[in-house]
Amino acid sequence: MFGSGLALALFAGWYGFPRILYRSETQPLQFSHAVHAGEKAGMACGDCHVLDAAGRFHGIPGTAKCAECHSAPLGDSKEEKMLVDDYVTPSKELPWRVYSRQPDNAYFPHAAHVALAKIPCAECHGPYGQSEAPRVYEVNRITGYSRDIWGPNISGIASHPWEGMKMDRCVTCHATHGRRDGCIDCHK
């Protein structure tokens, strides 16, 4: 009986708990990075996810950026038609959910990491640039942040370097590279 209790708790904690803790949400559009970054369009990350001359990273591009190519449908996909009809034509912004969204008090300068330290995007964001469609966005019911911040594994053990985006990840990497930073270098 002790064993079954143990098994029950382990099952509930490892299998049931993440399913209760996270709420799944779908992205507004089944955007394919593979099509855009692959041979068909041949775009680089920085073409849409712009780091401007002032060092400001613009993140997910606005509808205006999409409209540069998709002012009218280029192909016959249903998703593209939806983009044009529902967002581009009425010039409405897409309500993207951002996997890597950090708390307001965290400050992450893409300029320092991408332009200066030359860290490839995939080092933190994973091979997302090759995905066919956005993953399901899982939001933590307590914190309101994406599951990607903790990492896909509920144990917190990362099987790939890009899994998990918590502060210890930042600190470990900074320590490895011998950076001496104060708190307010990464907090605002």
Partner: protein, 700 residues
């Protein structure tokens, strides 16, 4: 396997679960998530996200019209700063302007037109439709028993010219401005030289001496950046700057010489300076202007020897002679008077006595003095011939419509109330927020807040060339607000005077067209700091695009000539004799900071200046000299009662050695949200001034 569960089994199950629980991520993950939750709890507003953009506009919180560089995140401005290199504001933006983008979200912002029933604490605010408001106002015009006045607190705008036209259309229609006018000296000079509509300005940049009678030149007067730049920091100053004021104001503190005149003694001081110039230093005057009433002026001035004037002005004769001497040897000089933001205008005869010094010194029509400007295109013959509300007979107005685009100066309710027909007079305020005047009005129609609509920035007081700029919207328009010009036009049409209703934008474009047609002047663009001559712009659209980018048009200077003939208003100066102050007791003197008086709404963040620091004492305090306080038996920070013949008010005392003995200085403005104002205690005299009132202070 046991066939039935015992109590022991259940305990084992629970025990197993309990042990297992600690080998699951649940406790550790929950601990982590909870700690993150506490750091981001819901009582902290989330930071706005979105594209960052930079836009240019101009502040419309006072007529200063400082250029603004705004940073926006998404559709919202979050930071304003001045535009260095701007020909009008020269990079200046004051504390109030720095928070101007908050105004649209002011807690006192009106959500719809309202009717105010009752007055004072019992006042009830009832939402009505804009049409109903128009009908009620139009009915007052149709009644016809009295005049209708349009009070424009910020004259010179394109909409001002339109108001003037509207007022002319109706019988008994008046277009008036507020009593506190920064251009009081220019106004007096216009009538002295007999050119009522001549646009005049001050050539501060080329002058060598400025003698100011109470004008808050370094506290927001005119185009603040212009004077702040010119008079900044005593060590770097190339102009001699003398301030005559009874109070140690910010301007007095910054002056090269502060002449601490008796309250109300400015006229005597000006006339004693005139005495020295005319009687003791004759021949120094180089003016080519013939003074028509010189004989009677001399007769008046003869009585004002510095020694004789001392009783009234309180100034040592030696100091008067020194200032007069400096004026007479200065290659170019400017003498002006001005209202205090809270204390209001000076008496007419004082304004004339001060303005006349410019004619005595030959400053008019000369470089470095009072200069003539080209007419603002499309305004020939008007905009300057404007009565201020002081000249409207008491108890004569049946309808008073107030466009409160703020002048930055206090408008005491009492000064308006006395102009209304007793019992029937109606007041309509076109204010974005429920400010102090709006609270007294019968109908309030919400105007757009700053940065919500396209507005023009008219020529600033004293500018040496006409200017025209646009304040472009930074915020989305609020559908609840009503365009003031359309509202006023609608009222007058409903009253039975057929006329087209223009949009504010059309009025602005019309003025732009006139400027383009004149082909004078240059346009400065804040985005790249470039300047282009209007003559080079072939199409009107080119000019409009530049203005719509918050550009500013600056007229060319006009060739100067001294007026051939003038009068010094001698008849006006003769009338009064002796000091105005009869009672030697305590004198209540209200004062204020431009744009922060009369309950004109300012950003709640300005609590930093008045409430959370003592930098700019807020309303509700009275400052006394230690001796005055001791005589009244009050001590610092104590609550006292201030009595005048108009009532009693409870105030906190501040003991301050820099306050004049025998004077109680109090900041104008509402105490608390809908609280009383110190100006309720002040006497508003026959001549429309409220500078001083006899008072008494006692322990609460």
């Amino acid at each position: 396997m046991p066939t039935h569960l015992t109590r022991r089994d259940i305990l084992k199950l629970v025990g197993g679960s309990a042990v297992g629980f600690f080998f699951t991520p649940v406790p550790w993950k929950l601990l982590d998530d909870t700690s993150i939750w506490t750091q981001n709890w819901s009582k902290i507003p989330p930071l706005p996200r979105g594209e960052r953009t930079t836009r240019y506009s101009a502040c419309t919180l006072c007529p200063g019209g400082c250029a603004v560089r705004a940073q926006l995140v998404g559709p919202m401005p979050y930071s304003l700063r001045g535009v260095s290199g701007h020909p009008v504001s020269r990079g200046f933006l004051c504390a109030v302007g720095l928070a101007g983008h908050h105004m649209a979200f002011h807690p006192l912002r009106l959500a719809s037109p309202v009717r105010v029933d009752g007055a004072g604490d019992e006042a009830k605010v009832v939402p009505i439709s804009a049409d109903a408001a128009m009908r009620m106002a139009a009915a007052k015009i149709r009644e016809g028993n009295g005049s209708v006045a349009l009070l424009d607190c910020q004259p010179g705008r394109a909409v001002s010219a339109y108001y003037e036209d509207l007022a002319r259309m109706i019988e008994n229609g008046l277009y008036v401005t507020a009593a506190s006018r920064e251009d009081s000296t220019l106004q007096a000079l216009r009538s002295m030289i007999g050119e009522e509509s001549a646009p005049l300005g001050f050539d501060f940049e080329n002058t060598s001496m400025i003698l100011s009678f109470g004008a808050p030149l370094l506290d927001g007067w005119g185009s603040p950046g212009r004077l702040e730049r010119l008079l900044k920091g005593k060590p770097d100053r190339s102009v001699r700057f003398v301030q005559v004021e009874h109070r140690q104001s910010r301007t007095a503190l910054q002056a090269d010489l502060w002449v601490p005149v008796n309250p109300g003694g400015e006229r005597a001081l000006a006339l004693s300076i005139a005495h020295v110039l005319l009687m003791e230093r004759p021949g120094r005057r180089t003016s080519a202007t013939t003074i028509a009433d010189m004989a009677s002026y001399k007769e008046t001035v003869a009585r004002y020897t510095p020694e004789a004037a001392r009783a009234e002005s309180g100034i040592e004769p030696a100091l008067v002679r020194q200032v007069a001497e400096e004026l007479s040897i200065a290659p170019a000089s400017i003498v002006l008077s001005g209202p205090d933001a809270g204390g209001g205008p000076m008496e007419r005869d004082t304004e004339y006595a001060v303005a006349g010094l410019n004619l005595l010194l030959g400053n008019v029509g000369k470089k470095g003095g009072v200069v003539f400007l080209h007419e603002m295109p499309g305004t020939a013959g008007r905009s300057h011939v404007v009565r201020d509300i002081r000249d409207v007979p008491d108890h004569s107005l049946n309808l008073l419509i107030i466009d409160p685009a703020s002048s930055g100066y206090a408008v005491p309710w009492k000064s308006l109330e006395r102009k209304l027909c007793p019992g029937t007079g109606m007041v309509v305020s076109l204010a974005a927020t429920m400010d102090e005047i709006a609270a007294h009005a019968d109908i309030v129609v919400p105007a757009p807040a700053p940065y919500e609509s396209l507005q023009d920035v008219p020529t600033q007081t004293g500018a040496s060339a006409a200017t025209f700029g646009l304040s472009t919207p930074l915020l989305p328009a609020d559908k609840r607000s009503v365009d003031p010009a359309s509202f006023v036009a609608g009222v007058i049409r409903l009253a039975g005077f057929p006329l087209p209703v223009p949009q504010c934008d059309d009025l602005l474009k019309e003025r732009g067209r006139m400027i383009h047609a004149e082909r004078r002047g240059t346009i400065y663009q804040p985005a790249d700091g470039s300047t282009v001559r209007v003559a080079e712009l072939a199409q009107f659209d080119e000019l409009w695009t530049k203005l719509a980018g918050a550009g500013v048009w600056v007229d060319d200077p006009k060739e100067q000539h001294e007026p051939a003939e003038a009068s010094l208003g001698a008849s006006m100066l003769q009338s009064r004799g002796g000091p105005r102050r009869a009672d030697p007791g305590l004198l209540l003197i209200p004062y204020g900071y431009k744009r922060a008086v009369s309950g004109a709404a300012i950003s709640p963040i300005l609590s930093k200046l008045s409430q959370e620091s003592a930098l700019r004492p807020g309303a509700g305090t009275v400052a006394l000299h230690p001796v005055t306080a001791a005589l009244s038996g009050v001590v610092d920070a104590e609550c006292v009662l201030l009595d005048t013949t108009n009532g009693t008010m409870k105030l906190a005392v501040r003991i301050d050695r820099s306050v004049r003995p025998g004077v109680a200085e109090a900041v104008a403005g509402p105490i608390g949200r809908h609280g009383a104002d110190i100006m309720d205690l002040c006497d508003v005299r026959e001549d429309g001034t409220w500078r001083m009132t006899n008072a008494n202070v006692r322990k609460a």
